[in-house]
């Protein structure tokens, strides 16, 4: 047996230990690869620089970061299980260098096989992913292609990852303390300490993080609170601070607070000495301490997954609303005074609509542009034109005095507190010759988002008096009830009118915005679910991996307990409670984190996402329960083998 044969045999025959590591590597590679197949698809690649490519590209990077982390943690757990084996080898005179070579060879062997298997499985699934993606994008069908680039990228990236990890991890093994290695992973007889101050810090950090997330909602409740809220708002990078607080708080939660709670349980003799409580409480203290980093990571990953999925889910369910708000009319054509073909163009549009059998209402408005003293453009529309549109949009009719003005928002997400143009008290027109008092703010966009910044409504009488006319636009808006079917017409019109001509005319339709938004949001949804699922599966695998790793140590303890008369039923209870804590505490904490992260999202989205939150959390609860029961039953089956002896 040569050294290389030895390394090879070691991997080949030790499937039980290597399998978990191998499978998680295969899984990671498969996911990365499938995503790369999407990314390099000729159709998507041809739209280089587009939003889709960008989103998919960034997702691939996120998956990459996750992969490195995941493989690294897997390999660490894997090396830990084998510390005894390493101890034996070292005592037989293996040099630290040889040990590093062994681990390196093993890792490369597992890595190469995992890359081949991962890509092969990925090839099978990529067809499925491509189908999914193409139906989402309404690209017709993204045909299957042989993804040479994706294969090269995946193989290249993962060879690098495995090389890096194979080079780094062997250094983690503490080759100088053979005795510790020989004794196995850890001793259960050491005392577990915790700090009350750090436990309080955990509560404080989590609490203030949550408070910061909610703070925009807490405004206007009481004066003291308001000052706090304003203080938080003035902090730079609130989100970063908030996230840091919650992340550190989570870590302390597992490293200190949970231990403190278990200690309190231990001191409660009535509880502690009852039935099997003693067994699981004392054991859990060690479990949590040994797995602090893992529990922490699982919680953070789950929170990210839950938030991503809730976020994209919420975004996609508001997409129709949003494009309605962005484009209150199905089509709007705006012409400059220098456009000689205005009437012809309007005729083209209307004939096209007529010939396709669309019913429509036309709203024509005139808008004057001036430049105010501060060089800001001001757009002016007269009251009768405004009311005309207001009627179509179901807004109240306005009656303005000759020295009054009404501001109209230019974006859907307007915020009177923050958009300065909307909070002006007075408006000066014609270089101060006409002075108007702002009577209020219209509730909605009346053309489409982004058109006519700083738009002011004035009475018809005042409008006629305006002398300084830098530009006079004619804007035609069409309300088409059957707008969802106007894509074909729009495409035909684009052939005739193009997108517009600078300084002459331009036009915009709701359907195009809707489709674009819809597509982007579907991709978001796809990516979000993809990432969420991966992160969650990854988190679950970490837990599973750990339990698997711990089994070997547990074995001796349970054999001993079985000998002194612990029944299988009791063993089931003890193991069940422990696994439940490891599975559900991170889930619950992650859900709470998500709730507060969503609170931040909500202020951006301007609509309630609570429903989506509960749907997502509920779905994951189901998944988690399934995961829990399958892991528990495998674990118990394994233990059962020892009790009957």
């Amino acid at each position: 047996m040569t050294f290389r044969q030895f390394a090879f045999n070691n991997v080949k025959r030790n499937t039980r230990v290597y399998l978990a590591y191998f499978l998680s590597s295969v899984f990671t590679i498969m996911v990365f690869f499938s995503f790369a197949v999407n990314l390099f698809h000729p159709v998507i690649a041809s739209r280089r620089g587009g939003a889709i490519e960008l989103i998919l590209g960034q997702t691939e990077v996120a998956i990459l970061v996750f992969s490195v982390l995941f493989v690294f943690i897997s390999v660490n757990a894997f090396l830990k299980v084998r510390s005894k084996e390493f101890g034996i080898l070292l005592i037989l005179g293996m040099s630290p260098k040889q040990l590093r070579r062994l681990v390196f060879l093993e890792n490369m062997l597992i890595g190469c096989v995992a890359i081949i298997v991962g890509i092969t499985i990925g090839l099978v699934f990529s067809k499925l992913f491509l189908m999914l993606l193409s139906s989402l994008l309404s690209y017709g069908s993204l045909s299957f292609y042989f993804p040479v680039k994706a294969i090269l990228l995946t193989a290249g990236v993962f060879i690098l990852i495995f090389l890096g990890i194979s080079a780094i991890t062997p250094r983690i093994i503490r080759t100088n303390s053979i005795i510790t290695l020989l004794k196995g992973v850890k001793k259960a007889n050491r005392e577990i300490k915790f700090s009350i101050i750090q436990s309080l810090a955990a509560l404080l950090l989590l609490g203030s993080g949550y408070f910061m997330a909610l703070s925009p909602k807490l405004y206007d409740l009481n004066p003291f609170l308001d000052r706090v809220v304003l203080f938080i708002e003035r902090l730079p990078y609130t989100e970063v601070i908030l996230t840091t607080f919650v992340v550190i708080g989570t870590y302390l939660f597992f490293s200190q607070l949970s231990i403190l709670v278990l200690h309190r349980l231990k001191e409660n003799k009535k509880f502690y000495l009852k039935k099997t409580n003693m067994l699981w409480v004392s054991d859990l203290i060690y479990r949590i301490r040994d797995n602090t980093r893992m529990l922490f990571l699982v919680t953070v990953l789950s929170a990210v997954a839950f938030t991503a999925i809730t976020g994209v889910y919420a975004l996609s369910s508001v997409v129709k609303d949003e494009s309605l708000k962005d484009n209150p009319f199905a089509l709007t054509f705006t012409s400059y005074s220098s456009n000689a073909h205005e009437e012809e163009q309007i005729k083209i549009i209307e004939e096209m609509l007529d010939s396709h059998g669309f019913k429509y209402e036309k709203y024509k408005s005139e808008v004057i542009k001036q430049t105010a003293k501060d060089n800001q453009p001001i757009h002016i529309i007269k009251q009768s034109d405004y009311n005309n549109r207001a009627a179509a949009l179901g807004l109240e009719q306005e009656v303005l005095d000759k020295d009054q003005a009404l501001m109209v928002p230019v974006y859907v997400r307007f915020d009177p507190k923050r958009d300065k143009t909307l909070s002006q008290k007075n408006i000066a027109l014609d270089n101060g010759e006409i002075n108007l008092e702002v009577a209020g703010v219209a509730p909605k966009v009346i053309f489409y988002s982004g058109l006519f910044r700083n738009l002011v409504v004035v009475s018809d009488e005042t409008y006629e008096k305006i002398k300084n006319i830098q530009e006079k636009y004619h804007s035609y808006s069409y309300d088409i009830p059957d707008w969802l079917n106007t894509l074909e017409v729009t495409e035909k019109l684009r052939e005739e009118l193009g997108v517009g001509e600078p300084g002459r005319y331009y036009w915009s339709t709701r359907i195009e915005g809707y489709i674009l938004e819809n597509q982007n949001k579907k991709i978001f949804l796809y990516v979000g679910f993809f990432l969420g699922a991966i992160f969650f599966l990854g988190a679950g695998s970490f837990l599973y991996f750990r339990l698997y790793t711990d089994l070997n140590q547990e074995k001796d303890k349970y054999i001993g307990l079985a000998k002194i008369g612990l029944s299988f039923q009791e063993m089931k209870r003890v193991a069940g409670i422990q696994i439940a804590v490891l599975f559900f505490v991170p889930y619950i904490l992650a859900s709470i984190h998500t709730y507060f992260a969503i609170a931040v999202l909500q202020t951006v989205l301007y609509s309630s996402v609570l429903k989506q939150f509960f749907v997502v959390i509920g779905a994951f609860l189901m998944l988690n329960i399934i995961y829990y029961f399958s892991v528990r039953s495998r674990y118990l089956n394994y233990l059962k083998g020892f009790t009957v002896r």
Binding site: F6, L89, G93, S95, P96, Q98, K563
Partner: protein, 256 residues
């Protein structure tokens, strides 16, 4: 010739709460000797053996193996030293589960990069000596405790070490298997002349040694030499042990 010399060895464990596991141990072992180390549980036997094994540096004092202090070597040098000069046998065998019995035995030669043909030759020799030729292709879970320990011994001597170290080699075996193993140790010591140091708390096993050293609470307590009769030696060992005052349990301790 002195194979092993311990000079004023002390070992203190712990940082805040210090515990002295060995105190001022002096010991000289000549080439070819078969020495037993005995003492009550917790008296420091394993610690002493680990100090000799080059895997647990003493807090103070000097270890000389074949005239050189292994703790002064740098790590790759030390690995070479262990690989070529030392052989280990443990209570729980410490075989590698992924390897066959034969592969386990040749592992020290593999680590040292020997020719495959040399490995095969030596494997046959040593397997014959230990009477395990017919299990060489089996895996560790397919053999009995006695066979496992014989495998471990084969692994410990295949490279003809200078010093064979064993920590309770019979601790996990029934009395029949324990006897077989001790007979083998004696035979190997006699035939190959390998210096052997064995920790045990079984007086029967200890009676196969030439000399038994007793320690108590980390200190040297007594030392007795074997005369012509093993039976008489066994009785002497029992006498010292009863004076030593280890709990009765210790003498026949069976681990779970």
């Amino acid at each position: 010739m002195e194979i092993l010399k311990l000079k004023h060895i002390s070992k203190i464990y712990g940082e805040r709460v210090q515990h002295s596991a060995l105190q001022d141990i002096n010991l000289t072992i000549e080439k070819g000797e078969f020495v037993g180390i005995m003492g009550p549980s917790g008296s420091g036997k394993t610690t002493l053996l680990n100090v000799i094994s080059t895997i647990d540096p003493p807090t103070s004092g000097e270890v000389l193996l074949n005239g050189e202090n292994p703790y002064k070597l740098e790590s790759s040098q030390l690995a070479l030293f262990r690989r070529r000069k030392l052989g280990f046998v443990f209570q729980d065998f410490n075989l590698i589960d992924t390897l066959t019995i034969g592969e386990n035995i040749v592992l020290p030669l593999t680590l040292d990069g020997h020719q495959v043909s040399t490995m095969d030759k030596k494997l046959q020799e040593v397997a014959q000596r230990l009477n395990i030729e017919n299990i060489l292709t089996k895996r560790t879970y397919e053999i009995s405790g006695g066979q496992a320990q014989r495998t471990a011994i084969a692994r410990a001597i295949i490279h003809s070490p200078l010093l064979l170290l064993a920590d309770e080699p019979t601790g996990n075996l029934d009395s029949k298997a324990a006897k077989d193993v001790m007979v083998l140790f004696e035979k190997i010591n006699r035939e190959t002349g390998v210096t052997t140091v064995m920790v045990t708390h079984d007086p029967k096993s200890a009676s196969y040694c030439h000399r038994v050293i007793f320690i108590k609470d980390g200190r040297f307590y007594n030392e007795i030499h074997r005369g012509d009769s093993r039976r008489k030696f066994y009785q002497q060992i029992l006498d010292v042990l009863s004076l030593l005052g280890g709990e009765a349990d210790d003498l026949s301790a069976i681990r779970l």
